[in-house]
Symmetry: C2
Subunit: 313 residues, 2 copies
């Protein structure tokens, strides 16, 4: 809170949920999953800010009755997610999971095996869903002299953006055969559901590496499992899944998928941590981005990061 | 061999060990660990090229009787080692080893823990031994807007090199308290033996991360173990060790250190793989760098990468 206050214009007044004395003055609510009562509590409410990027299904539902309320989200997590995506690319490329596991058992054999590691330098990356995260990631990848390509739904013709070739989403199949690293940064929408299935994976080179930091359902889990199991692709780094813990108790026994990905050597698996939830670093970024939105409102400027309710992001 | 030949000047003639017909014409030998007979076999020998960076102790020994023979080495591995160093920094910063291990057991608890991940963005890196590897690594780190500092033995006064602050080696202790990521890229010499011990580690901030891709003996193993065990520093990524397999049989049962690093959660351990030995990518880089040295010889230019026998690198 102190961190947020220090970045705010003096014009912005903050109140907290416990304080009901100014409910009729509140124009902006910061809440990820408000229920109907919370929305109805503020008669002057103009804008809801979700303090992260992905808008929960139930929040769209709750706001259906209030079409005039704008939904905004925060992209402060583009930096941690892009760092995490690069970590997964490198960890998968260098095969660090089995290396670490074997050496902990005093086994050095992998040191002497051929063909178990790839470079990023000079290779081609394809980023699906070229938005906030993709632009940060592209900056890192260019430092490796990678050839960075990308797709974006809103692009109609191929275009160059700061040394990145951005293609329309329907160019996917023609791009896959040239892709060494496929990075999925797409939200889950009807258009992206199961977008990467067996036919798409079969277009990738056998040496390719797939990283998903978007949403699990964009990649068909059976197709991914079989491609890794049969070495149809070299490896993968996966942070987003098909099954999530439904409550605190199930955090210790929720298998992330319906296939035994945990048996595979050529995958790095991670419990949806790319946003770097709960770290001091992330909270600092979140507060400074929240301040940008609140300051815009206070100054009468257009508030950035408006969510398109139709598209869902 | 075809790959090497394609990068060579027509002036360069190559012969292989099995062919003894041209032994008296050989002026350059490419061999990592030649014995005395191999050296004496070539009466015209002017130069030995070690096809990697670190010159083996026994090779210096063998060549003691031949002070006129120049030793050269290859730094083609600067790119794979720098990529590997970044992988270890990110893997340690994001705590991926315990995350992957727990999720393979359907355990998501780490997802909800605080303070287990750090950003690179905006932090300060200190690279000890700013040579070929450090310069490549610095290029990557600058893409994260990191503040990159470094030390080099041959520097007498602090100087800026392409946005990196390079300090004399004796500035170490004044640099450590400001360091978030300490990357050790030093060779093992009498000056660097045990350079990072308990007093040095105690100067690092508790949130700092240590990565060693130089040589194990530069870091005191007991001091490192205790610092990690007691969380005196946050985590480490270690590719270079204290004990190595002495033969093929012992590859499955050689503990890399005298302390149980394998019991620690806050470390990524790797069996000296940063050079990316044996991958196609690395061999391509190695051959193109070897060609640069051989072409220089053929043209009568000074051959690059001469090793200083006194300094040992």
């Amino acid at each position: 809170m102190a961190c947020l206050q220090s970045s705010l214009d003096p014009l912005v007044e903050i109140t907290v949920a416990e304080d009901t004395s100014r409910d009729d003055q509140v124009t902006v609510l910061v809440s990820g999953r408000p229920n109907k009562e919370e929305i109805n509590r503020f008669p002057q409410l103009e804008k809801l800010i979700i303090p992260w990027a992905g808008v929960p299904e139930e929040t769209f539902e709750v706001l259906k009755a209030k079409p005039a309320i704008e939904i905004h989200n925060l992209h402060h997590n583009a930096v941690p997610v892009a760092e995490y995506a690069l970590m997964l690319m490198l960890a998968a490329a260098k095969n660090i999971i089995p290396m670490d596991r074997a050496l902990r058992l005093s086994n050095w054999q992998l040191r002497y095996e051929t063909g178990t590691a790839s470079l990023l330098t000079g290779k081609t990356a394809l980023i699906l869903g070229y938005g906030h995260i993709g632009r940060v990631l592209a900056k890192y990848l260019k430092s490796f002299d990678m050839n960075v390509t990308a797709t974006r739904y809103s692009v109609k013709f191929p275009q160059a953006e700061d040394r990145v070739e951005v293609y329309p989403a329907n160019s996917l199949r023609s791009l896959l055969p040239k892709t060494d690293y496929l990075i999925i940064a797409l939200p889950h929408t009807p258009e992206t559901d199961g977008l990467i299935g067996e036919p798409e994976i079969n277009l990738l080179p056998p040496s390719s590496i797939l990283v998903n930091i978007g949403r699990g359902a964009v990649v068909d889990q059976g197709a991914l499992f079989h491609a890794l199991k049969t070495k149809r692709i070299a490896s993968a780094g996966i942070d987003v899944w098909y099954n999530y813990p439904k409550n605190e108790e199930s955090r210790i026994n929720t298998s992330p998928a319906d296939y035994p990905f945990h048996e595979l050597e050529n995958i790095v698996i991670s419990p949806h941590r790319a946003g770097g939830l709960n770290t001091d670093d992330t909270e600092r970024l979140r507060m400074s981005h929240l301040a940008i939105l609140l300051n815009a409102q206070a100054r009468g400027d257009e508030m950035p990061n408006r969510v398109d309710r139709q598209k869902g992001y």
